[in-house]
C-alpha cells in the first residue's frame, strides 16, 4: 500500500514540471515583471489577455519579486536570461539596468512629459510614477501632521510605521527624500524621529499591512495609496499627507532586454503598456500614469499631487551606500 502511494506521488511529481513546461513554448514573449504588476491581483490579469488578443503575440509573464529584486535577478542571470522585456525598474536604480537594455524610440514618447524621461537614451521608458508620502488614518484621533518636520514632534511617539532603507526601495525613498531636503543634516531628522517610529518594517507590504490592521495611525507609503481604499473599501478614512517641503518621486520604467530575438513583439508590448494599459496600471498599482492623455477614474481625486517633487536619478551607488551607512549608525545608537 505504502509503495503504491509513493509511486503515485512520484508520477504526480513528474507531471507538475511537465505541465509547467507546456506553458513555456518557444514562440512567446517573456516579460519579467515586479510583483505589483504580475499575478491575479495586479493589472496583468486583465492586460495580458487583452494584449494577446489584440496582437496575437503570446506572453509569458514571470513574477520576479519587487522592483529591486527583479533588477538583481536580471543582473544575476546576465546573458542567460529568458526575458525579452522587463517592466517595473525604478529611476533610482536604473543605472544598474542600462547595461542589459537596448534603446527604443517609442512613438508614444511624445505624450509623456519631459521631466519623467529620466533616461535620455530611452533604454528605460517611464510608464507610471508616484510620490512617497505619509498616509494617516483620519479617524485615529491624532492631530494631522502638517509637515515632514512636524512628524518629529513628540506627540507622535510610537505612532509612525517606517520602512528599512536597507531592505526596501520605499524605505530608501524616504531616506533620499530627507537627504534631498536637508542635505548632510538629514541625520537630525532621523534622530528626532527615532522615538516616533513604532517599528521599522522590512518592506512596504508588511508596513502597510500593519497600518491597515490599525497598529499605528501613520505609515510611509505613496500619495496615491488612498485611491485603493476609495475604490475597494469605499472609504476616505486613509489620507495622504502633502507636505510643504516637497516629496520624493519615484518613476517606473519598462525596457527591452539587450539581444532579444523578439524585438518587434517587445516594441508592440511597450506601446500597448504606454497606451491601452495606462489606466489599468495606474488603478492597480496606485500610481499616476506617465501618458498625460490617460483618463482616470474619480477616485484619483483623492491622490493629491504635490507641487514640489525631487528625483534621485543623479545619486550614484557609492553616495547611496554612504547615506545608508550613516543612517544605520544613527539608528543603531
Amino acid at each position: 500500500m505504502r509503495k503504491i502511494i509513493l509511486l503515485a506521488l512520484i508520477i504526480a511529481s513528474i507531471a507538475v514540471p511537465l505541465s509547467a513546461q507546456a506553458a513555456s513554448e518557444e514562440n512567446t514573449l517573456t516579460v519579467y515583471a515586479y510583483d505589483s504588476f504580475s499575478g491575479d491581483w495586479g493589472p496583468a490579469g486583465k492586460l495580458i489577455p487583452m494584449f494577446e488578443e489584440k496582437t496575437g503575440i503570446d506572453v509569458e509573464l514571470v513574477g520576479a519579486g519587487d522592483a529591486v529584486e527583479m533588477l538583481s535577478r536580471i543582473e544575476l542571470e546576465g546573458s542567460m536570461t529568458d526575458a525579452d522585456v522587463v517592466i517595473g525598474i525604478t529611476d533610482d536604480f536604473a543605472y544598474r539596468a542600462y547595461d542589459f537594455l537596448e534603446p527604443y524610440e517609442s512613438p508614444v514618447l511624445e505624450d509623456i512629459p519631459d521631466w519623467l524621461e529620466f533616461d535620455p537614451e530611452h533604454r528605460l521608458i517611464p510608464f507610471d510614477y508616484g510620490d512617497f508620502a505619509f498616509v494617516w488614518d483620519s479617524e485615529s484621533g491624532i492631530r494631522k501632521p502638517e509637515s515632514l518636520m512636524d512628524l518629529t514632534s513628540p506627540e507622535y511617539k510610537g505612532q509612525v510605521i517606517l520602512i528599512d532603507p536597507r531592505t526596501s526601495s520605499v524605505g530608501l525613498g524616504l531616506l533620499l527624500w530627507t537627504y534631498n531636503l536637508y542635505g548632510d543634516d538629514f541625520v537630525s531628522w532621523w534622530e528626532a524621529m527615532k522615538d516616533n517610529a513604532l517599528t521599522v518594517a522590512d518592506g512596504w507590504s508588511s508596513a502597510y499591512g500593519l497600518f491597515t490592521e490599525g497598529e499605528a495611525p501613520i505609515v510611509l507609503s505613496y500619495t496615491t495609496s488612498p485611491v485603493y481604499h476609495v475604490m475597494n473599501d469605499n472609504t476616505t478614512r486613509y489620507q495622504a499627507l502633502i507636505f510643504p517641503e516637497g516629496h520624493e518621486a519615484t518613476i517606473e520604467g519598462i525596457g527591452i532586454i539587450k539581444g532579444t530575438d523578439k524585438r518587434a513583439e517587445a516594441e508592440a508590448f511597450i506601446d500597448f503598456i504606454l497606451t491601452d494599459g495606462q489606466a489599468d496600471i495606474a488603478i492597480a498599482n496606485s500610481m499616476y500614469p506617465a501618458n498625460s492623455t490617460t483618463v482616470l477614474p474619480d477616485a484619483f481625486d483623492y491622490a493629491p499631487e504635490p507641487d514640489t517633487m525631487f528625483t534621485s536619478t543623479a545619486i550614484d551607488e557609492e553616495a547611496k551606500d554612504e547615506i545608508i551607512d550613516i543612517w544605520t549608525e544613527t539608528m543603531a545608537r
Binding site: L9, D35, V68, T167, A201, E213, E215, A216
Partner: protein, 538 residues
Amino acid sequence: MDRNNGKIGLWSYRAGTIPAILLVTILFILPMALVFGSAIREGTLINSLEDASTYRILLFTVEEAFVSALVSTVAAIPFAAFFSRYRFPGRKAILALSGLSFTMPAILVVLGFVIWYGNNGYLNTLLEGIIGCKPLRILYSFPAIILAHAYLNFPIAFLIITSAWSGRPETEELAAYTLGKGRLWTFLHVTLPAIRGSAASSFALIFLYCFSSFAIVLVLGGQPRYYTLEAEIYRRVYIDADIPSAAAISIIALAATAIMLLIMPEGRREKRTSRKKRELKEAHGGSLIAAFFLVILILLFLLPPMVAIVYRSFHEKGGAFTTEHWVKGLNAGYGAMLSSFIIAFLSSYLSTSAASAIALYSAHSRSRLLPFFTTLPLAAGSVTIGLGLLIASSYIGSLIPLSADWIRYILLLAAHVMITLPFSVRTITPRAQAIPEVLRDSAYTLGMSSIRTIMKVEKPLLRSGRMKAFCFSFALSLGEVNATMMISLGRLTTLPALIYDLIGRYDYQSASALGTILLLEALIVFIIAEIGDKDGIS
C-alpha cells in the same frame, strides 16, 4: 566495553551512508564551494571581516538566537516532564497541535501575532470591551522577537524532550527513591542529566533556526539595530545583486554556527537495555488538575494566533463575515497546494531515509563528524542554500540536457531535502544510539547477516523516530519559503510563497485563508503520524 563484535558489520552501515554523503556533497558542499569561492576571489571576506558593523550584526544575531533557544528549551522541560509521565484526555491532541505552530512560515507567525497580540489586535480589542482601553503593548520590542521565536520553537523542544524522556524507563529514579533521595534531588541528579542530550539537541536546533530568522526580527523587533546576518545576506543578494559580498556574510554566519555546533555539550549516551519503555501513568486527582492547567497553558499560548488567522480569513477588518477571500484564495492556490504537498512528501521521504542510514552508522562508529557534516545545511541557513543551488543551476544547465523548469524543480526538491535533512538526522540519531548493542550482537550470534540485522532489527526500532522525523520534515518543507523563492524564480509556486505574495498585496484576508489551509494540511499529517505511531510515546 568490547566493541569488536560491533565492528564486524560496520562496512554495511558505511555502505548505507554513501548515498547520503553523496547527496550532501553534491547538493550542498559543491554549491557552497561555488559561493565561497567567489567571496574569497573577490576579497569581500576580508572587507566584511574588517567592517565593524559585521560584528555588531553578528553579536545581535547570536544574542537573539541564544535567548530564544534558552527560553524555548527551559519552558519546554516542565511540560515534557509531565507529558512523559502521565496519560490523560487530550494528551495526544496537544502533542499533534504543538507540531502545528512549527509548520507556520515566519510571515504567517508575524501575521498571526499582529492580528492577535497587536496594538489593535483581537486580544486588545477583547480587553477594551472589559476594561475600556487597549492596554497591551507587546509587539515591536526585543521580548516580542523572543515570544515569536518561542512560539515557533517551543514545540521542537517540547516534542524532542518528551519523546526522549518517555523513551527511557524510570528504573534509575525508582532506585534513587529507594535510596531515600528526595524528588528534587532525583530530578536534578538523575533525570536532568539523562535528558541533557535531548535538551541540548533541541537547544542547538532552535539556536540555528533563530540564527537565520529574518522577518520576525525585522517586523516584530521594531528597531533597526535588531538586524540579523540572514537579513544582511538577503539584502546583499536581492537589493545589491552582490553575490560575492553576500557570500562573505554567509561564510561568517556558517563559521559562527559551526563553532556553536562543535561546542554544544553532548548528552550522556543512554544505551537502552531493554525494549521496554516507560509506562505512562493514568492521571487522576491532583495530577489530573495539573494536567488540565498545563493543557490550558499550552492552548493559550499556541492557539490564539492560529485561531486569529482562521477567524480573520472569514472576516473583514471591520468585522463583517465573508467567504469571498476563500474563493479567491482557493482559485489562485490550487496548483500551489498540490506542488507544496508533493515537494514536501518526496523531500521528507528522501531526507528521512538518508537520515536513518546516517544515524545508524554514526551510532555504531560513534562518529561525531557525520552528524556534524549533515547538520551543516542547517548552519548555512535556507537563503544560503538557495543561493548556492541557484549558482549551481547554470552549471547543471550546461552539463545535463534538461529544460530549465525541470532543473529548477529538481533543485527545489534538493533544497528541501537539504533543509530537512539536519532535522531528520538529529531526531533519529538519539534513537539509533539508544538501540542496545546486545540486541545487535544477539542477532549476529543467531547467524543474521549485518544487512538483515539493519533491516529486520534496527530499522523497525527506529520506526517511531523516522515517523517523527518525517512529520517534522514535512512540516518544515511545507512552510519553507526562502530557498523556494530563490530557486523557483516565480515559475513554481508553493503555498507559503503564494501567502507571501498575497501579503505583498496586503490582501491579509486571502493570505489568512491560504494560511488556514497550510495549517490544516500540517494538522492532518500530524494526526496521521500520531495514529500510525503504535508505540504511542509521543
